[in-house]
């Protein structure tokens, strides 16, 4: 199975890559290739120009920015899963990365690529949303920061313009009273493969009660989605199992649940509540 013919460019600097995207409208950025190449082989996509960003120096690191942790465009799922800074400040993302695909996929696929690809059932985007990440996008006219709530637009559609490169995802650093967790049911059972349904939760405890909570769902709708009903129901409670389960029952209130090959609306609604409760409990236990 071959992709159609294309012109392959491997720029050695970000500026050169951005210029190539301007010069070739319709060109596709190639990072780890774990989503782009399968689509090109199936000929669901046939770009005339592919811009491989894999040789650009400076995009391959996880950086301590003081108030945030930056994950560069070439950082792989395996590297995110194993990084101490990410584990400490965004355990939900580290876990989501460790459950993305299999070892071979994690060795090549990039965290930023998973964000840009924006699959409805992907693991890391929902963690980034729950953690309140910021997305740094570069184009030849400069750099802009996109809030997580604005980044995921629709099914396989992010806020990136075709001539933009996502250079970094930034996870805000967390204080001692806050922790996050991710849990899912994978399509192949357990935690394996894309999420039938998955939930990322970031929870803050203050003076014995829940001072803040951000809960986001994947696999149930057209994009990673915040569950405002759960957050409203949870904040101010004592964080007991009963309070968590009562809040989790509202997981999909106000969320449009869509059925797919892997589950009906009823099943996904049920799973969303189950995994909401599990993710919140795991986050609280980690504080």
């Amino acid at each position: 199975m071959y992709p159609r013919q294309f012109e392959y460019l491997a720029p050695s600097s970000l500026d050169e890559a951005l210029a190539a995207l301007d010069a070739h409208p319709g060109a596709k950025v190639l990072a780890g290739g774990m989503s782009l190449l399968p689509m090109m082989k199936l000929r669901l996509l046939s770009p005339e120009v592919v811009v491989d960003i894999g040789r650009i120096p400076g995009l391959d690191g996880i950086t301590d920015h003081g108030d945030s942790v930056g994950i560069g465009a070439l950082v792989t799922h395996a590297e995110v899963a194993a990084d101490v800074l990410v584990m400490r400040n965004g355990a939900a993302l580290a876990t989501a990365a460790s459950w993305t695909g299999d070892r071979q996929v994690r060795n090549r696929g990039t965290c930023c690529g998973a964000m840009a690809h924006a699959d409805v059932a992907a693991d890391q985007p929902v963690a980034a949303l729950a953690l309140g990440a910021t997305f740094v996008a570069a184009s030849s006219s400069g750099t802009r920061a996109i809030a997580a709530g604005d980044f995921f637009v629709d099914t396989m559609m992010s806020a990136l313009a075709p001539n933009e490169i996502l250079t970094e995802v930034r996870i805000p650093k967390t204080g001692p009273g806050t922790a996050s967790a991710y849990d899912k049911l994978g399509r192949r059972g357990g935690h394996t493969d894309y999420a039938v349904a998955g939930v990322a939760a970031s929870v803050t405890r203050s003076n014995g009660s829940i001072g803040g909570a951000t809960v986001a769902l994947t696999g149930v709708g057209n994009k990673p989605t915040l569950s405002h009903a759960v957050m409203d129901a949870l904040v101010g409670t004592d964080g007991s199992d009963a309070a968590i389960e009562a809040a989790a029952a509202h997981a999909t209130d106000g969320v449009e649940v869509l059925e797919d090959l892997y589950g009906s609306v009823e099943y996904k609604t049920h799973l969303a509540s189950v995994f909401t409760a599990r993710a919140i409990k795991a986050a609280l236990n980690a504080i």
């Binding site: 199975m1 071959y2 992709p3 159609r4 013919q5 294309f6 012109e7 392959y8 491997a10 190639l30 290739g33 774990m34 190449l37 399968p38 082989k41 199936l42 592919v50 491989d52 894999g54 695909g101 299999d102 070892r103 071979q104 996929v105 060795n107 090549r108 394996t192």
Partner: protein
């Protein structure tokens, strides 16, 4: 376009189309047919090779992306006619039946043991999650990797289960 890389320790250079996948470069340009093509859709792991020491899917990678890299295929494991401990493990513990998944499975196991020299059964099963085998039920593959791990750590492998019976 021209690509150059090291394959099983030897430098190679060839003219390929930009769309040439690494697995076709290895099999068709270099004649290294040990690496198999199974699903072609990134799911089975039959095409797994080691790229700079890491297990990757050669069917989901352009040859051009491997420019300058060190690639190891199943052909590069034996030394002076002696099997690599992982190959020996698959032989000694019957880790294969039809053999279709085996080259990818072996490379996957080699890179796993390089990263984690003493994996638990759970870690072995998780480590080969991306390699599908339709024959063995994985049981003897796990025993084969345990055998190889012991050998590589300089320990005596546990006796084969059928010898205990």
């Amino acid at each position: 376009m021209k690509v150059s890389m090291s394959v099983n320790g030897s430098p190679v250079t060839a003219d390929v189309e930009s769309r040439t996948l690494l697995v076709h470069f290895l099999r068709d340009s270099l004649g290294l047919t040990g690496t198999h093509v199974g699903c072609e859709t990134s799911y089975c792991g039959a095409c797994t090779v080691s790229l700079n020491g890491q297990a990757v899917l050669s069917c989901t990678m352009l040859a051009a992306q491997a420019e300058g890299a060190e690639v190891t295929t199943v052909e590069g494991l034996a030394r002076n006619g002696e099997l690599h401990p992982v190959q020996e493990g698959f032989w000694e513990r019957h880790g294969l039946q039809c053999g279709f998944c085996t080259p990818g499975m072996i490379i996957s196991a080699v890179t796993l043991l390089e990263e984690n020299p003493d994996p638990s059964e759970e870690e072995i099963r998780r480590g080969i999650e991306g390699n599908l085998c339709r024959c063995t039920g994985y049981h003897n593959i796990v025993r084969a990797v345990e055998y190889a791990g012991a050998k590589m750590r300089g320990e005596a492998p546990a006796p084969a289960e059928w010898e205990n019976a």
